[in-house]
């Protein structure tokens, strides 16, 4: 097989798929339920500070390492188990946690060892021991499961590259043309079946996402809503989606910036759940970031590039309401290279477990998705 195909950009966005779901391979151990298992992959670009998000308030070293950053929000934390607390901006996620539908996992790392955002993100999306810009783990999982996927992005992110099942959608900044233009186009395309089909599909999609399109801002909350609409519309036949949220690189002034970021994430995920409606029960949302941030605060009230961070798995059937992952401690001698949170488990091994339990991928299939990482042993989804 060729290692790479070319990049699908916005142009590939044939969203209203025409081919019905192909039968899954027998190996896949298909569940009898007719409800499709939906998956949403959310990448937080810029390295989310996990210590400011799922705050280990029980760890006495937190205040020593971050005297200014940690003292500011300590009183307002939303309580979780084992002495952890959510950042106050995560009100919706806190409710999910209480409803046992959100599983926060602490001290995870993809295994990427350097501190470059771009390589770190490519690594997180590629899911291989060596970055391949043209093969993503989600695409390899989709190849096993054979569902259609959409990236809410202008061009196909690495996660979804190199498969025919993936497409993109993004709101346009452009004003819609007058409706009689579309009418004239459909008569002009009468002899050109391909263009006529694409035009009709495009117009159907435009109707479906009208509200989000009109705002044209590409805000995370709007993309999340559009994402859910595309996933529940029976015509669109999309069972997997990818969202991105940037802006996590909080080198300075972290408390203000992180609060804004977390609020945006919290609102977006809330909107996603609302729009998914009953499908929330069949949906698993996985949220991860390329790496964590330094344990110590820096001189500009921020933090720098680190190693371990946190991730979330959420959804109607997720075994939530507990904190997963082993806590490595924050004392100087417990840190990775004396500066970063030490990873205690691998991001991909948790994702592999979720794919195993939610999409019923077998260990053999998962070996093709994550060739270099074992599947986590702890169950994450009620099956």
């Amino acid at each position: 097989m060729e290692r790479r195909d070319f990049i699908k950009a916005l142009g590939a966005s044939l969203v209203v798929f025409q081919t019905p779901l192909l039968a899954m391979s027998l190996e896949a151990n298909q569940p009898t339920s007719a409800q499709p298992a939906k998956l949403v992959w959310v990448v937080l670009r810029g390295a989310m500070d996990s210590l400011g998000t799922i705050v280990p308030a029980f760890d006495a070293n937190l205040l020593k390492q971050r005297p200014k950053l940690a003292s500011n929000i300590k009183e307002q934390l939303l309580p979780l188990d084992n002495g952890y607390g959510f950042h106050p901006a995560l009100a919706n996620l806190h409710q999910w946690y209480k409803d046992k539908q959100l599983l926060p996992i602490v001290a995870v790392s993809s295994g990427y060892k350097e501190r470059s955002h771009f390589d770190g993100q490519d690594y997180l999306e590629s899911g291989l021991a060596n970055i391949d810009h043209d093969s993503g783990w989600l695409a390899r999982a989709i190849s096993q499961k054979d569902v259609n996927a959409i990236a809410l992005a202008r061009s196909t992110p690495i996660s979804l590259r190199n498969i025919p099942q993936a497409n993109t959608w993004y709101p346009s900044r452009l004003k819609d043309a007058d409706s009689d233009v579309y009418q004239a186009l459909s008569s002009m395309y009468a002899d050109d079946k391909l263009l006529l089909d694409r035009l009709n599909q495009g117009l159907a999609l435009q109707g479906l996402t009208q509200q989000e399109s009109n705002k044209s801002t590409g805000k995370f909350v709007d993309l999340s809503k559009a994402c859910a609409k595309l996933m529940i519309d029976p015509k669109s036949n999309v069972d997997c989606a990818m969202l991105e949220l940037g802006g996590w690189d909080t080198h300075s002034n972290q408390n203000n910036r992180l609060a804004r970021q977390l609020e945006e994430l919290d609102n977006g995920l809330h909107a996603l759940k609302q729009e998914l409606g009953a499908q929330w029960q069949n949906t698993v949302v996985i949220v991860a970031t390329e790496f964590g941030r330094t344990v110590k605060e820096n001189g500009t009230l921020g933090t720098d590039h680190g190693t371990a961070s946190a991730m979330f798995i959420a959804g109607g059937k997720v075994k939530g309401g507990q904190i997963a992952g082993q806590w490595p401690g924050l004392a100087d001698e417990q840190l990775f290279e004396k500066r970063d949170l030490m990873p205690t488990s691998n991001t991909f091994s948790w994702i592999a477990k979720a794919l195993n339990e939610h999409w019923k991928l077998t260990p053999q299939q998962l070996a093709r998705v994550f060739p270099s990482v074992p599947i986590a042993s702890a169950s994450v989804i009620h099956t």
Binding site: E2, L10, G11, A12, V181, A184, M188, L199
Partner: protein, 453 residues
């Protein structure tokens, strides 16, 4: 007007500027071949920054930022206002200025075949922006390394590209050192195979052409020490060969031994790769695929490959062979324009000026932001990757937006100049029955004839 003239202008060029069809019509093939005789093949404004100057400025800005940060640390940070940064950063400004400059040249050019070819090789040797250094450097590769060698021999083009700072940094060769080199022994730095792998897989032989992992490593070792000068430490600028990082010894690539010393070793390897039969076939196919059809006829690719091998990869001769081949002149339009081609040809057809911001956002909105493919394989050159439903609607909306700005144009003249008689009755009637000039121009740009070439 001949059908050949409209093919010459649309399939090989970037679409007709006003009255250009008349010029091409005299002798369409010769009109193209004459473009290939131009020296230089293309000409850039020289008043924009060179990569050496850009690297210098970036290094100085980094120093400045560092000292600002230190000053900030010594004070009480909560009382000190953040250092002011300009609204648009230097690297972003440079990226926009240079990448839009290329686009403008292409829109205004009277020898657009050469600009098409520049785009082709710029995408063949794709570099992507990420972070300040790459963002500022990406648009310099095509200007400094590709343009001067565009119609010369492929080995010169290849070496020039591989030694350019944008490529060396993008594929991590600037820090690739031989395991037995002095540098490696001193600080444990090692080999990075990234650039060598892409040279074999993408730039020359092509995937599955019979090279092995061992060849990748041998080539990687052959180009160890090919690095980039640090503007604040080194005397040189741009490409710098770091002798102490070069892997000593003889290399074997594709069963041939290379006993050359120093940077000559890597150069010899690249020169041989440039004229290897697999390279000749790989790039001939890619050129035919780009200009002629997503499924180019084997006979055409064979002619071009034979020419490549006979002329040691003379790109002007290979292009001439393609233009002279009958297989290139079928009437049917088999290529769907990429967003970049669509934007350029639309502005040429309507004779519209667009400012930098408009040009840039056009490409972003239509999905082909300059130097943002995010993969060394570059943007797709296949119809399926550009003709999606959402993409088509974006094109309609974009076309309608720019059609509103074309105030004085005569739609009849534009149709004639772009297609002569080669437009279907249906398209022609739909366009001419439009209720307004704006709508007519939108329909013209979105006609099957204009979307393809």
């Amino acid at each position: 007007m001949s059908v050949q003239a409209t093919i010459a202008i649309n399939r090989f060029g970037l679409g007709a500027k006003p009255s250009e069809l008349i010029v091409a019509n005299k002798a369409p093939k010769q009109w193209l071949i004459n473009q290939l005789q131009r020296k230089p093949a293309i000409h850039f404004n020289s008043d924009v920054a060179h990569s050496n100057e850009i690297m210098q400025t970036l290094a100085e800005l980094r120093e400045q930022k560092k000292s600002n940060k230190n000053n900030l640390k010594s004070d009480n940070p909560s009382d000190t206002p953040q250092t002011k940064t300009p609204k648009v950063s230097y690297h972003r400004q440079t990226y926009l200025q240079l990448s839009i400059d290329t686009l403008e040249h292409a829109i205004n050019s009277e020898h657009s075949l050469n600009w098409r070819l520049l785009d082709f090789f710029s995408n063949h040797f794709s570099v992507s922006s990420a972070g300040p250094v790459m963002t500022a450097l990406v648009p310099t590769l095509e200007r400094e390394a590709i343009a001067p060698n565009l119609l010369g021999r492929f080995d010169d083009l290849l070496i020039s590209v591989i030694q350019h700072p944008a490529m060396l940094i993008y594929l991590n060769n600037e820090k690739s050192f031989g395991p037995n080199s002095k540098v490696a022994k001193k600080n444990g730095r090692g080999l990075n195979e990234n650039l060598a792998r892409e040279i074999l897989e993408l730039h020359t032989l092509g995937v599955e052409s019979g090279y092995s992992q061992k060849d990748v490593i041998e080539l990687a070792k052959g180009i160890t020490g090919w690095s980039v000068a640090n503007p604040l430490k080194d005397k040189e600028q741009g490409f710098k060969y770091r002798r102490s990082g070069h892997e000593p010894g003889v290399r074997t690539l594709l069963n041939k031994t290379y006993s050359q010393k120093e940077s000559e070793q890597g150069k010899s390897m690249l020169r041989d790769l440039a004229v290897h039969p697999a390279t000749a076939k790989h790039i001939s196919y890619k050129l035919a695929h780009h200009f002629i059809s997503d499924n180019p006829p084997a006979s055409l690719v064979n002619k071009m490959t034979a020419c490549w091998l006979a002329t040691n990869g003379n790109l002007k001769e290979v292009m001439t062979t393609m233009i002279n081949a009958d297989e290139a002149w079928h009437a049917e339009k088999l290529k769907f324009k990429t967003p970049r081609e669509f934007v350029i040809s639309s502005l040429r057809a309507l004779d519209l000026k667009a400012n930098n911001r408009q040009l840039y956002s056009s490409l972003v909105t239509l999905g082909q932001q300059p130097f943002k493919a995010g993969s060394p394989a570059g943007y797709s050159d296949r119809e399926d990757d550009w003709n999606g439903a959402n993409a088509l609607i974006s094109r309609v909306n974009w076309a309608s937006t720019i059609a509103a700005r074309a105030k004085k144009v005569q739609i009849e003249a534009i149709i004639k100049n772009s297609f002569s008689e080669s437009i279907s009755q249906l398209s022609y009637q739909t366009i001419s029955r439009a209720e307004s000039r704006k709508q007519a121009l939108t329909l013209f740009l979105m006609s099957p004839e204009f979307l393809r070439r």
